[in-house]
């Protein structure tokens, strides 16, 4: 029997750290888990971006946090996807929703049938065949409901971050995380390259078998071991954000993301923001649009070894990526999940860290590819956009683009965050169309396909009428709660 893991120390100043501490203690209650709550890092996007992907709901469920606590009592709202406007000048906006696009008929994917129909000139917009897109465009919301067209979608949350953080903190406390407030003065690394000890400002020190770095881009712990980071700035041009916290208003169920001359902007209720490439933007003009906004620098990239020695970087200390497609907290939660299922023993064998890192890298690189796709496939005349279109994409994205451009094939990669339909939604939404129609669709005659597609759309349209608005749905849940 090897020496078991006994103590875990999480350091961080935001929701990522609280989620890490709470999840580890909840799912491995025999560990002694300490949370060192530091001042928040303004540039830690996993802690700061209100929009999340659907994965947060499964994460809550695994912890035993119900929707009442995770959504209703914290003032969160549901989001079905993102509405992209202005990304391809000549094309209408498109919705990326967390749903199936179209109905499967025959053995081939729906998007291949849609592409044949598009070529023949009778297909409507790709997203008009996604039930959740119709729902979201109408400002309506229902959770997945078997027996209706709205059976297969998923939804993310728009968080009220301060309230959410208080909830997770209370949960961590409740499950037995030891909570300390303090600031890190110094990090001592031993000769094995392990984090030996944290010295705190004003005296005192902390040590643990395993340390989790949720301190944001500064990576106070993991960065003390080494600074090796892959640079993604060639593919992800936005290196600045302005984030503004306004008066609480109801967040849209379909988060609008609008491209501008040197980046994009979003509004998700109280939180609004502008992302831009400093080299191409008129910073003064953008700042004038958002005078109270926090200005944040992003250095897009990732550590290929988020876990080294006894230290695991989670969130922005591992990966920095602009918030387009809302992956920051998603990557953090996914890494926390992975860490819980791969808890090491006290020896911290490099082979175990390598397996963890392999999965993290695969996941983060495909997120990078998905975000980069929006730029490489964008069609806008301004210099930043032209530069993006001219930059050769990473190999794995190039492979996807080549395969899709040939016949609409979407190759499989390990640790994909987004489904094939979601890839197709962005590709098609930005006007990337294959050279030819996949011959396999011919197994279904064109007129039969047309009839099925029309029927599917009609079913969706009829069903949308019977759904509540997002506000009405939230209100109904709230009143159920108060009964």
């Amino acid at each position: 029997m090897t020496e078991p893991l006994r103590t875990v120390l999480v350091a961080g100043g935001g929701i990522t750290g609280w989620y890490a501490a709470a999840a580890i203690k909840r799912r491995a209650p025999f560990l002694d888990v300490t949370m060192l709550a530091t001042r928040g890092a303004p540039d830690a996007l996993a802690d700061r971006i209100a929009c999340t992907l659907p994965s947060i709901r499964g994460f809550h469920a695994d912890l035993g946090i119900g929707e009442e606590d995770a959504v209703l009592r914290t003032g969160a709202a549901c989001r079905l996807g993102t509405l992209f406007s202005g990304w391809a000048d000549d094309l209408p906006d498109y919705a990326h929703v967390y749903d199936r696009y179209g109905q499967r008929f025959g053995a081939t994917s729906f998007h291949l049938h849609w592409l044949r129909a598009r070529r023949a000139g009778w297909a409507d917009a790709f997203d008009s065949y996604a039930p959740a897109a119709a729902l979201a465009r109408a400002g309506r919301f229902v959770p997945p409901t078997p027996g209706t067209p709205f059976a297969d979608h998923d939804y993310g949350l728009t968080l009220d971050l301060p309230r959410q953080e208080r909830m997770v903190r209370a949960f961590a406390d409740h499950v037995g995380v030891r909570i300390l407030a303090g600031e890190i003065a110094d990090v001592a690394i031993d000769d094995r390259g392990f984090v030996a000890r944290l010295t705190l400002v004003g005296g005192g020190s902390l040590a643990a078998d395993l340390v989790v770095d949720a301190t944001g881009p500064a990576a106070r712990l993991r960065g003390a071991i080494d600074q090796a980071v892959d640079d993604w700035s060639g593919w992800l041009p936005c290196d600045r954000l302005l984030i503004h916290a306004g008066a609480p208003i109801e967040p849209p169920v379909l988060t609008p993301v609008v491209a501008h001359a040197a980046g994009w902007r979003w509004s998700s209720g109280a939180q609004t923001g502008i992302a831009y490439a400093a080299a191409h933007a008129d910073e003064a003009a953008l700042a004038a649009l958002m005078p109270d906004g926090d200005r944040i620098a992003i250095r897009p990239g990732m550590r290929r070894a988020p876990w080294r020695g006894n230290c695991v970087a989670i969130g922005d200390s591992a990966t920095q990526v602009e918030p387009l497609e809302w992956c920051n907290l998603h990557l953090a939660l996914s890494a926390i999940d992975r860490l819980v299922t791969m808890l090491p023993d006290a020896a911290m064998a490099p082979v175990e860290a390598a397996d963890f890192n392999r999965q993290c890298v695969a996941e983060a690189e495909r997120v990078r590819d998905f975000v980069a796709l929006h730029y490489v496939a964008a069609r806008r005349p301004e210099p930043m956009w032209r530069a993006c279109a001219a930059t050769p994409p990473p190999d794995s994205l190039a492979h996807t683009l080549t395969q899709f451009a040939e016949r609409g094939r979407l190759p499989f990669y390990e640790e994909e965050t987004f489904s094939r339909d979601e890839w197709a939604a962005v590709l098609i939404g930005q006007g990337v169309l294959p050279r030819r129609v996949d011959p396999l669709v011919e197994a279904v005659p064109a007129d039969a396909a047309a009839a099925a597609m029309a029927r599917h759309k009609a079913d969706i349209a009829a069903a949308v009428q019977r759904t509540p608005t997002h506000a009405a749905w939230l209100a109904a849940q709230a009143s159920r709660l108060s009964r």
């Binding site: 029997m1 090897t2 078991p4 893991l5 799912r27 491995a28 209650p29 025999f30 560990l31 053995a107 044949r116 070529r119 023949a120 299922t341 791969m342 808890l343 090491p344 023993d345 064998a349 082979v351 175990e352 390598a354 397996d355 999965q359 080549t402 395969q403 451009a405 040939e406 016949r407 094939r409 190759p411 499989f412 390990e414 640790e415 030819r436 129609v437 996949d438 011959p439 396999l440 669709v441 011919e442 197994a443 064109a446």
Partner: protein, 505 residues
């Protein structure tokens, strides 16, 4: 409307299992896109390996609209719930690699972590097979179709078939010819290649017939007539990891029980298969010629066969490995023409099927395009590499030191990819996870534990439960499985009612 392209002229060389599976699939799935011409020679026998299959074959049959009971009756098939490995980790051992899970398949932590913990604590444990529904069903010689609900114990498994490949090819031929495939009997004597592109323009048969095509599919078996021969694609040799290079095969009458599983019995210089069909049992000894002579191997097989022999022992030669690329120019190798992995885990037909699926998905419209070709090769390489590691594991994870062959495989250098997998398992009971690939977690666990590698560590969360409660849970599970399995019908009886063999057409 889509303008239907000109039909691609597909020429398939070779009419064994691979050739007729390919012909039937293309003709059925791409009726407007392809015209298929298959050339085979009655003078050349078919190898007919892979009588034992993996559960994936069911999806192939389903997609082609092949009814199960009819197919089983005609190919004299039996059900297969897994593979029994005898004498691998040590002489005297026996374990089943099931097409199913261990435990109830429900907990947050994989069952094997609890198993490792109790086992390392020296606790008395029932045989691992008793804790898998599929293994128990197999050991008891029973069969029933799995239930649709994977939450039920009787839904925690899949199944495949053991069938007569010599009868499967003609069955598919009938199906393919009804779908418009043209067949010519003849031997290929010349291949005409385009001087500029190197693509194949036509093949010529011994009688002078010239057959032109746009896409050539090489199903010529070990000869690899087109891809290995005409296109000269090099062969990547894996003999240093998989030294078996010959097999001697001899069917016998089925006299003993018709087991719903295949057996792979380790031998002094390789292993022996036993594949029970309804009417006969396939037997063969796969061996490394560097470690045993042909005569000695043949004698060992003859001595081991259980029933009355139905044919003289037949010798096969092969090399483990694959063509560097399976799709070169306008020519795609499928089956043995693309590579060979010994049938230890019944992967031959699976590899044929994956190649067909990829070819159908990447089917050209006229001249093959490089992106289609590269993607095909990427997908096939991945399959070969992962199966290779899994096969090597069987040989390497042994304590046997009773012959030079076992000394060699036990001590040989293994691929880094496998060394890392083994290390993770040994230390922590962790199985390297892939979302795709043929052998998923449960398969690796079955072989690791079956060959005696109990992890030194496990998921620390498995320590959280009270060992007495875990023991009680295991005992209850064992009983529940046993009770459910006891109510299922006998395999032979099930076959006799469901798909009694018919005389071959």
């Amino acid at each position: 409307m889509t303008t239907p392209g000109k039909a691609v002229r597909v020429v398939i060389v070779g009419g064994g299992t691979a050739g007729w599976m390919t012909a039937a699939a293309i003709a059925r799935l791409l009726p407007h896109r392809a015209s298929v011409h298959l050339v085979e020679s009655e003078a050349i026998g078919i190898v007919g390996v892979g009588e034992a299959t993996l559960p994936h074959i069911r999806f192939f049959n389903e997609r082609l609209g092949i009814p199960e009971a009819e197919f089983m009756a005609l190919t004299r098939a039996t059900f297969k719930l897994g593979i029994e490995f005898r004498d691998w980790g040590r002489i005297g051992d026996s374990y089943i690699h099931p097409f199913g899970t261990f435990g109830s398949g429900k907990g947050a932590i994989d069952f094997h972590h609890y198993w490792s913990r109790l086992s390392r604590a020296g606790a008395p444990l029932p045989p691992l097979d008793d804790l898998s529904y599929a293994c128990t069903l197999a050991r008891q010689g029973r069969f029933a179709h799995p239930q649709a609900d994977p939450g039920q114990l009787a839904g925690t498994f899949g199944y495949a078939y053991q069938f007569d490949a010599q009868l499967f090819a003609p069955y598919l031929r009938g199906l393919a010819e009804r779908a418009g495939v043209v067949r010519t009997d003849g031997i290929v004597t010349a291949v005409d290649r385009d001087g500029d592109t190197g693509d194949i323009r036509a093949i010529t048969l011994a009688d002078g017939t010239r057959i032109e095509g746009d896409l050539f599919v090489d199903c010529s078996g070990f000869r690899s007539l087109l891809v290995g021969g005409a296109m000269e694609e090099p062969f990547e040799d894996w003999a240093h990891w998989l030294p078996a290079d010959r097999a001697v095969a001899m069917p016998c009458r089925t006299e003993t029980a018709v087991t719903p599983y295949t057996s792979a019995i380790a031998m002094p210089a390789g292993w022996r298969w036993r594949i029970p069909l309804q009417h006969r049992t396939g037997n063969g000894y796969v061996y490394a010629s560097a470690f045993v002579g042909d005569a000695e191997a043949r004698d060992a097989l003859v001595a081991a066969v259980e029933g009355e022999p139905l044919a003289e022992p037949r010798l096969l030669r092969f090399r483990a490995g694959r063509r560097r690329r399976s799709w070169v120019g306008n020519c795609v190798a499928i089956g043995l023409a693309s590579g060979f992995l010994e049938p230890l885990e019944s992967t031959s037909i699976y590899l044929v099927q994956q190649a067909i699926t990829a070819l159908v998905e990447l089917f050209p419209d006229g001249a093959p395009s490089p992106p289609d070709r590269d993607e095909f090769n990427r997908v096939i390489d991945l399959e070969y590499d992962r199966i290779r590691d899994f096969l090597i594991l069987h040989y390497h994870a042994t304590t046997r030191s009773d012959s030079p062959f076992w000394d060699y495989v036990r001590t040989m250098t293994i691929p880094d990819s496998l060394a890392e997998k083994l290390d993770l398992w040994r230390r922590r009971g962790r199985v390297v996870k892939y979302r795709e690939g043929v052998f998923l977690d449960a398969s690796w666990v079955a072989v690791y534990l079956g060959q005696g590698i109990v992890p030194e560590g496990w998921d620390p969360r498995a320590d959280a439960s009270d060992p007495v409660a875990v023991h009680r849970g295991i005992a209850a599970l064992r009983q529940e499985i046993a009770a459910d399995v006891a109510a299922r019908p006998d395999h032979r009886g099930f076959l006799d009612r469901y798909c009694p063999m018919t005389d071959a057409a």
